[in-house]
Point group: C2
């Protein structure tokens, strides 16, 4: 129980710090500002985090954990690669648009230079995600190509070898760009919301990688 309370309060600190960093800029926000927003003494804040860099690192790390728990873990269990990719697009957009976690996940794009050891840990988690997505794009393309081969074979038709036009790597970066850019234009009162954005971005990617 005691441990849970501590975890909750750390997450609350991260959420409020992320909001402040976005409103005022990371460097312009002091540890004093963060403590004041949390109604903590400066000592109380330093009890949890030794520095502002540590807070930024923990926000980014928490953002990667959210992505792991709400996007990667649920889709790993999906056997069919097409369905896996559809689910990944949907879940990732949902995380990025989640009112509760939006401020946390946006901080992944903060370009304040972290100390090298901390930056390395975040970058390594980001790379894992890119590699997962790249393999998945390849699997989806292979599956569709194989199905086309079998269909041609069944009908005794010749098949022009479909050259992969969009590589899995370029497709992975394209999708990440589309999704991670959302915070730059998204408006809660705007026309584009999760329910119409998810099918459109899904169609765009599926149409695009089989162009």
């Amino acid at each position: 129980m005691a441990r849970e309370t501590v975890v909750d309060s750390r997450q609350e600190i991260l959420r409020i710090a992320a909001r402040l960093f976005q409103q005022r800029g990371y460097d312009a926000t002091s540890m004093n500002d963060v403590a004041a927003a949390l109604k903590l003494s400066k000592g109380g804040l330093y009890h949890h985090f030794q520095s502002k860099d540590e807070i930024l690192f923990e926000i980014m790390n928490h953002a990667m954990e959210i992505t792991q728990e709400r996007v990667l873990n649920p889709v790993r269990g999906i056997a069919d690669p097409e369905e896996r990719l559809r689910a990944l697009i949907r879940l990732h957009i949902e995380v990025v648009l989640s009112p509760r976690d939006r401020e946390i996940t946006v901080m992944l794009h903060e370009n304040h230079p972290l100390p090298p050891a901390l930056r390395k840990r975040i970058n390594s988690r980001k790379k894992d995600y890119i590699h997962f997505l790249e393999s998945l794009m390849g699997e989806v393309q292979d599956k569709v190509q194989k199905a086309a081969h079998q269909e041609a074979h069944r009908k005794l038709q010749p098949l022009h070898h479909a050259r992969r036009k969009v590589s899995p790597r370029a497709a992975a970066f394209a999708l990440l760009g589309m999704i991670n850019w959302i915070y730059q234009w998204y408006k809660p009162e705007g026309e584009l919301q999760a329910q119409n954005l998810i099918p459109q971005f899904t169609d765009l990617i599926f149409g695009g990688i089989f162009a």
Copy 2:
């Protein structure tokens, strides 16, 4: 001649300031740091720019001017919407990857809050670009749909009305995300370079908006 020298030196200040901001972070870089990197006295720097905010605004404004001159102006003259979109994708990727201007254009994504009046001017130029791209996406879709109608009419075939699956607006944001995200993963020594990235992103978008 005198005017040209002044303009050149302002642009040189902006380029070097942009590089420093990216290496050290905007807030962590002082006017002293910028002056030192330019081998200027602090007074010499203040002769050109009154504040760091003014430098940041001028960097962003210069980035939008580069986009105007090297992307928008050249494509406006292209009559065919498909060719216009192909040219826009190519030219925009080239600007984003240009070694000379990369540091300037990346600063468009700096999330340091500018004074409201300055922010408004940058946002208004960004919006103009989005609207141009949105109309272009719509024109390209309309043209292809019209051609399909004419073809069906010529062959006396019925045509299932192709519903637009990806709206011009979603397509515009998707493309901007794909291109503006490049700076997050691009490596000058990497496999993905302008010559293979441009055709892949072009295929992805054209495949996607006609999915």
